[in-house]
Subunit: 350 residues, 3 copies
C-alpha cells in the first residue's frame, strides 16, 4: 500500500506548519521504512536524483543521516559548504538567493539547509534565510536544524518516544500513546552553548500531539516567546497542561519523558556577535542543573531522551544516559527513517 | 537511436580542439537528455563508475552540475580538493603529475579539473596543468573551467542561445540558427575580478558556429591575443564579422545575444602574484560599463546571457537580468545536460 | 561460485589479526573483482549501504580508492572529517566514542578510519582510537592507515608482488609464490617524515606468507619493537630468515622485492609533539639512502615496490621508479580491488 499525501513539493521548516495528518503520515512511513529498510519501492524512489545539503555549520549526525537517507532511497546527497558559495551579503559582492535558488531547483530534487546560532548575527536570521530560499526555490527546502527549529529531530523524537512508551519497537504504538504523557524539557549545564532549535521543536511537536509540557530552566534562559506562545496554543487546543519552572528538580515529578539539554541564553548575541565563551562560562557554574538518577527516581518511570551529541556529566550523568530507560540511540536512528520519509513524501517519484 | 561518435577517451580542454561534428553530436545528445532526463539507456551508463573532480578553486554551480550529471548517469563524482594532494611543486616535496594521473586512471572513468586565475602565478599555468594531466592519464581530462577556457560553459551557452533564438525549448532549433546572429561580448564593471575563461570560450564557440562577434571593453582589458586570433580565423572561415570596440554602448546595435561580464585585465599578475584587490578597485570606477535596458533597447531584441553567478547592479541591472529576454536560468540548467552528454560520449559504456 | 568465509562483521585493524585462510580468501576475491570489475553479483552487493570514511589525516589515494570501492559495489562512501565531530578529549567538551560509534552503527555498514603520526601526541594513540571505536561499533572498523598498521596496503602489496613474481597479471600466481622470496625493506631519505604504517604492515604480511625479510635503515630509525617481534615469530613459524642491517647497500643482494620508503625515527615525538621539521632535516642529510639502478643490479632481478606517493629522487631514482621492474601502479590499482574484497567479505549482503 502506498501512502497518499499532498506533500509533494512542500517545504519543511517547522513541523508546526504541517497538518497533523501529514505528520502522522510521515511517521507512519518512517515506521515502514524502519521495518523494511532497503526494500522496494522506496529503495529506488530517488533514483538518479540529487539532494543538496548546505552546511553553514558543520555537523556529523545530521550530515551522516541525511546522506544515508538519500543513498538508501537510491539517490545521492551532495555535501556543500556555503563558504564557497559567494552569496551576496551586506558587506560582500556575490549572488542573490533568488538566483542561487532558481538554478539549484534545476539541478536538485530538494535542498537541505543547516545554519545555527554562531553563523548569524541575531536570532531569527537563519529562519529568514531558509524562508528566502523557500520563496524562490521550486523544490522543497528542508531544515537540517536552524536557529529556531529542527523539524527532523522533532519527528525522530516523537517516533522514538512512542516506540518506548507503547508496546515496544517490534509493535510500535501509534502517536496517540503520547496524549496525556508529561514531557519535561529541562535545561542542563554544559560547555557547548547550544542552539534552541531541538528544544523548541520538541516542545512544539510534543504539545501538538497532546503531551503535557513542563519546561525547567534557570532564570535568564527563556526560550523564544513566539515559540512559547505556540506551545501554549497547542496545549490549549489539546486541553493539556503547560508550565515553566525555575527549579532544577520540581519538573521531574510525574514525568514520562525527560529531555535534559543545554541551551544558550537570550543574551548570547550582543552587537551582532555570538558570545560563546561568556555563555559557556556562565552555564558551567549552574552545576545543579544535571539530570541524574536521583531526579529520575521522582518521575513516572520516565524515559530519558536527548538529540545527541551528549555532554555527559553535565547535561546528564552516565548512569542515566546509558541506563535502561535511555532511548537516545533509538531516537538517533529514527533521524534516518524520518528523513527518508520526508524525502519520499516531498520529493519522491510516487 | 544511439549516437555514434569517436569521442570515447577524448579530453575536453577547449571546444576548439573538437571537430564541429562532435560538438554538434554533444549538443544533440544534451537535447535528448534534457527531454528524457532520467530515462534509459543513459540513466545507468556510468553504473559503478567514478568521475574525479579536482577543485583547485571552489565552485558551487560547477560542482553541483558535474556531481548531478554523474549521479543522473548512474555513476558517482568524487569531490576532491588538491590542497590535500601533496603534488610536487618548485618549492615542496610531493608527487609528480605523471604518478598521480597514472594511478587515478586505474580508479576513475574521467577526471575534471578546475583551476582559475587566483591559484596560479601567471596566465596559462592552469592550461599547462590540464595538459600535463592529459599527457599521462589514460582516461579523459575535462576542464571544469581553467584560466583559458571553459568548454562546458561554452556548450551550455550555444545550446541555450539556440533554444531562445529558434522555435523555443519544446522544439529547439538546431545550432544552424546561430549562423549570422550577432553576439556582443561586453565587459561589465564589478567587484569580482573574474577569469577570462567563460568569456573566451563563448567567443570561440560562437564564432565557430558562424556568429558575428563584437567585443566591447574599456582600454586595458584586452583578452588573450592567441584566443582573439582563433576567433578571427573562425570568423574568416565562416565569413562572419569580428570587431572590437572600446565604447560601452556601440556594440549593442543589431545584437541578437548580449553577454555582459566582468573580467580581469592582463596586468592582473605581477611578479607571480594575482593582484585581486587592485583589479577590483580599478574596475569599480568604470560605472558606465553596465548592461541596462536603455542599451538593450538598441539591440535586435537580443537575449541576455551570463554564465552566473551574476554581480547584479554592476555587470547588469536587475531589470535586464530578470527580464523576459534573460536566458540565464536555462543556460545554467544546460550545464547539467551538456556535461552529461560529454560524460556519455567520452566515458560511457556505449 | 561464492566464497564462504566467517568474516561478516569483522574489523580489519591489522592483517596479523586475521587467519591466513581469510587473507587468502580476500586476495582470491580481489583477483576475481579485478577480472570482472563491474560484474554481478558484486556490483550491487552494497546497494543502498553507506560506508563512513573518517579522515583525521587528508589523503588522496586512500580516499579515492575507498570511495570508488563502495561505488563499484553499488553502495556509497561518505567522506567525513573529524574536525567537525566534536569528540570529547582531555581538553575539550564533546561526545564520547561510545556514543558516536553506537549511533554510526545504526546508519553505516562499516567505518573506515585514517589517523597518522601528525594527528596524535604519541605513537600508538591512533591504534588505541581504532580499537575504542571497534569496542563499541556493531559494524566493522577498517583501518585506512593508522600509526601502526595499514592492512589494505599490505594486502595490495602481496597481491601485486604475487602477480609480478608469478606468471603475470593475466594468470596471477597464488600467494604461495611469495614463499622463500626475499623482501628488502629499506629506508629512503626524503622530505616527508613518513609514518611506519605501510612499512610495518608490509613486513608483517610478507613474513606471514613465508618471505625472507631484510630491513635496512640508518642507526636511529628502528621500527616498533613489538612489530619486529611479530615479524620474527612469523619468520620462525615459516622457517624463513629475518635480518636487520644498517648498510644502505648490503640488503639488496639476492632480493626479489625491494621496497624503499622514508620513515620517521622513534624520536619524532617529544613532549606530545610531532617534530616534523626536525625529522625532515635529519633525514635529508642521509643521501646514500636512495634506491637506484646500481643497487638494484645486485638483486635477483627484483621488482621495485612502493605504496605511493613517491618522493622521487630521494626514496628512489626515476630510473628505478619508472623502470620495467616497477610494480607501483599495479600495486596502487590493487588497493581498489582488495578494499572491495574486504567490504564484500565483512559488510556484504552475501
Amino acid at each position: 500500500m502506498m501512502l497518499t499525501t499532498d506533500l509533494y513539493g512542500h517545504d519543511l521548516i517547522s513541523t508546526q506548519e504541517w497538518d497533523i495528518g501529514n505528520l502522522d503520515a510521515a511517521i507512519e512511513l518512517a515506521r515502514r521504512l524502519k521495518r523494511n529498510r532497503y526494500g522496494q519501492p522506496y529503495s529506488t524512489i530517488l533514483s538518479g536524483k540529487t539532494f543538496f545539503m548546505f552546511f553553514y555549520n558543520p555537523s556529523v549526525r545530521t550530515r551522516q543521516s541525511f546522506e544515508c537517507a538519500a543513498t538508501e532511497l537510491g539517490g545521492h546527497a551532495q555535501f556543500l559548504e556555503p563558504r564557497s558559495m559567494r552569496l551576496k551579503t551586506a558587506k560582500t559582492a556575490g549572488e542573490i538567493i533568488e538566483d542561487a535558488a532558481k538554478v539549484m531547483s534545476r539541478y536538485a530534487c530538494g535542498i537541505g539547509i543547516r545554519i545555527l546560532e554562531d553563523r548569524i548575527s541575531s536570532y531569527g536570521e537563519g529562519d529568514d534565510l531558509l524562508r528566502e530560499f523557500a520563496r524562490w526555490a521550486t523544490v522543497p527546502i528542508v531544515s537540517m536544524a536552524h536557529d529556531k527549529y529542527h523539524p527532523c529531530q522533532g519527528l525522530a523524537d516523537i517516533m522514538g518516544w512512542a516506540e518506548w512508551l507503547g508496546d515496544g519497537v517490534q509493535k510500535p504504538a501509534r502517536l496517540e500513546v503520547l496524549k496525556g504523557k508529561k514531557l519535561l524539557m529541562t535545561w542542563g549545564h554544559g560547555a557547548l552553548a547550544r542552539s534552541w532549535c531541538s528544544v523548541q521543536e520538541a516542545i512544539i511537536i510534543g504539545s501538538r500531539f497532546g503531551m503535557d509540557i513542563a519546561i525547567a530552566h534557570p532564570e535568564g534562559y527563556d526560550l523564544d516567546p513566539e515559540v512559547l506562545k505556540t506551545v501554549q496554543q497547542n496545549c490549549d487546543k489539546q486541553e493539556s497542561s503547560f508550565e515553566i519552572t525555575h527549579s532544577p528538580e520540581k519538573g521531574y515529578e510525574g514525568s514520562n519523558v525527560v529531555y535534559s539539554r543545554n541551551w544558550m541564553s537570550p543574551n548570547a548575541y550582543q552587537d551582532g556577535e555570538f558570545l560563546k565563551q561568556a555563555e559557556i562560562d556562565r552555564a558551567l557554574k549552574l552545576k545543579d542543573w544535571v539530570c541524574d538518577s536521583v531526579k529520575m527516581s521522582k518521575t513516572a518511570n520516565a524515559i530519558f531522551t536527548h538529540p545527541m551529541p551528549i555532554d555527559r556529566g553535565r547535561e546528564v550523568t552516565d548512569e542515566v544516559a546509558s541506563g535502561l530507560r535511555s532511548c537516545i540511540y533509538d531516537v538517533a536512528e529514527n533521524r534516518l527513517h524520518v528523513q527518508k520519509a520526508i524525502m519520499v513524501l516531498t520529493m519522491g517519484n510516487l
